[in-house]
Amino acid sequence: MKKSSTSVQELPGAAGHLPHPPPAWRPRTDPAPLLPDPEPYRVLGTDAAAGADPALLLRLYAELVRGRRYNTQATALTKQGRLAVYPSSTGQEACQIAAALVLREQDWLFPSYRDTLAAVARGLDPVQALTLLRGDWHTGYDPHEHRIAPLSTPLATQLPHAVGLAHAARLKGDDVVALALVGDGGTSEGDFHEALNFAAVWRVPVVFLVQNNGFAISVPLSKQSAAPSLAHKAVGYGMPGRLVDGNDVVAVHTVLGEALARAGRGEGPTLVEALTYRIDAHTNADDATRYRAGDEVEIWRAHDPVRLLEHELTARGVLDEDGIGKAAEAAEAMAARLRDRMNAEPVLDPMDLFAHVYAHQTAQLREQAAQLRAELEASADEGSEESSDEGSGEGRAEGSGETR
């Protein structure tokens, strides 16, 4: 609404072109505070660890253990044909758990396809979280219930959504922050750029967490970006970039917590890059040996997020064998429940195909629904409906269903 007359700097005299720098558009903010530290922030194994709240650490530990078990269980379910595909977050549990636990009730999480664990740790029923990957529906839950946006498969497209939601909440005067997750590969998409720019220009209460796990399917980071770090991208939008050890759950929790608090204070968005590693293949269908050397995995295993915290807790005497055992038991129970529930055949209604295309079914969809209903009735009469194998699964083979 206001006409622009912003940063133009008055010149001493109209005639004096010469000794003056160009009148406007000079650097408006100091880049220094936006630059990430050269070393990723760490807590575990540093002096900062001493200051951490033991209750929080124990909670994080229990969740990490459950999270790891969730990952192995979901992977097992693919082998039993109970999931169409599973993109594991094994090795990235610190990011997943910290992201889930750092959020307040009213905040929103914007996950990608790899982030079902974060959704589950935030309180979502794992069966609902896995609906997409089981294949009975797309989004298996009401996003409003736990304030978790649908798992996003088209890369980086969820980032502008997070910006828009947090922007809307602020316009309505609500104290809500959005946390959006994206992978290292996703940072190359135009949507990443546009989302961060909108967020910074409008000072939207949103935090972007890049889980840099080193790979986008087979493509290593070195073919994805030449930036000093992905966190350095923040500078180009005028927001601070933070670099954190993504396997150090306490560090991720702390950095995200600070960023969320900053956002909540109206100071705008932050870009956080968590350095982590995708221990498993891209999904169960992928063959990672085609593109990476095994020793890399071993090196990262030595920096395992669960073990890192366990070491800290046992060294401090906060956790003992008994506690470790209890955590493992709880995780095992969760896995058993999950396995049982996923083994139950989901109840499907083919008519759902037409139920939610529009608020009001169009005449055309009513016709098509009637057609399918008639077909189903006819085949039920023949008693052949359930055994029909036409279509689905046909042509599955190497490579198919590999990505998601």
């Binding site: 609404m1 206001k2 006409k3 529906w137 797309h138 989004t139 839950y141 009401d142 996003p143 409003h144 946006a149 649908p150 088209p154 497209t157 980032l159 502008p160 959504h161 997070a162 910006v163 828009g164 939601l165 947090a166 922007h167 809307a168 909440a169 316009l171 309505k172 959005a178 135009g190 949507d191 750029h193 546009e194 989302a195 720019n197 909108f198 220009v201 759902d352 139920a355 939610h356 295309v357 529009y358 608020a359 169009t362 005449a363 055309q364």
Partner: protein, 334 residues
């Protein structure tokens, strides 16, 4: 409700007024896009909205169409009703992934839990002397995307009514604005605007008995003119203005064609793969035994939109419509 004709108003004014009234009635309606605020849009359709409702309700965005639409998705997720302006037809293309993969699908993906009441206003079509990328007719892309409603007004009244209906809709609506009709005028009272038409209803703009011209948006005035000219040839043409491409009003269209027995689909979009194929096919499916001749199509050529000095050769005009009518196999008539 009958409208009280106070003074001639343009389609641009009716559109502006529709947004204004919607914003005044419903605080969740937000307008966003490039230059929509201070400038009031390059076509001035949002003129005055920022002044009346503030920058937060009518917002100049950074220059990034995927970002605009993606942000609108997030706003709609939180309960707002965003009205997005795409500056020109071709500049909506960067937003297609957001449109196809999210806007059109979100209600379905979430079993109805997350509807997206977003209106995307797209000025479309040619005839205004615009340089390349400023005159595309992109409706075929939207029509082929289930989950979207696609509407386009041809009159000042409908501009108001359909835009109100689009903004009120709980589903995403692609609102196609025929650029060359922005300054078309009609007697129209902004103080007693026409009732909000439900989306999905075609309207017979002219009654006739010889053949039906099925058309929409910028081609409606062309068809009405052609129908007038056709009287000299002895043809009494009916003109159906579709208004809503999705959902499609099969009932109105089929009823007309059954009555006349002949039909020509007229639009400016390219012919091959354009809306006319769908329309002709569904009319034929429903009216086959009433048809004296195949449903013909008059459309833009299958070429990239021409430069300003050549566009008149591309745009379907009265003569081409009459040529097509002449080819409706009148000799076979009893």
């Amino acid at each position: 409700m009958t409208t009280v004709a106070v003074k001639p108003a343009t389609m641009a004014e009716a559109l502006r007024r529709a947004m204004r009234d919607a914003m005044a009635e419903d605080p969740s309606v937000h307008v966003l896009g490039e230059d929509v605020g201070t400038l009031g849009g390059v076509f001035r359709i949002t003129d005055g909205l920022a002044a009346e409702f503030g920058d937060d309700r009518c917002t100049d965005t950074p220059l990034a169409e995927a970002g605009i639409l993606g942000t609108a998705v997030g706003m709609a997720m939180y309960g707002l009703r965003p009205v997005v302006e795409m500056q020109f037809d071709a500049f909506a293309y960067p937003s297609f992934e957001q449109l196809i993969s999210h806007v059109a699908k979100m209600r379905n993906r979430t079993r109805g839990a997350m509807p997206l009441p977003i209106t995307v206003r797209v000025p479309y079509g040619g005839g205004i002397g615009g340089v390349e990328h400023h005159s595309d007719s992109s409706e075929a892309y939207y029509m082929a995307t289930p989950g979207l409603h696609v509407v386009t007004p041809a009159t000042v009244d409908d501009a108001y009514g359909l835009l109100r209906a689009a903004i009120a809709s709980d589903d995403p609506v692609i609102f196609l604005e025929p650029k060359r009709l922005y300054w078309s005028k009609a007697q129209w009272s902004p103080d007693e605007p026409a009732e909000v038409d439900p989306i999905g209803r075609a309207v017979v703009r002219r009654r006739g008995s010889s053949a039906t011209l099925i058309t929409y948006g910028p081609s409606v005035p062309v068809c009405l003119e052609a129908a007038e000219a056709a009287r000299a040839e002895g043809w009494d043409l009916e003109v159906v203005d579709l208004r809503s491409l999705v959902p499609f009003d099969d009932e109105t269209v089929a009823a007309s064609v059954r009555r006349t027995g002949r039909a020509v689909v007229v639009h400016e979009s390219t012919g091959f793969g354009g809306p006319g194929g769908e329309i002709a096919a569904r009319v034929t499916e429903r009216c086959f035994h009433y048809l004296e001749a195949p449903v013909l199509r008059v459309a833009g050529f299958d070429i990239p939109y021409p430069p300003p000095m050549l566009e008149r050769h591309h745009l379907p005009g009265v003569d081409r419509v009459l040529d097509a009518v002449a080819r409706l196999q009148w000799e076979t008539e009893s």
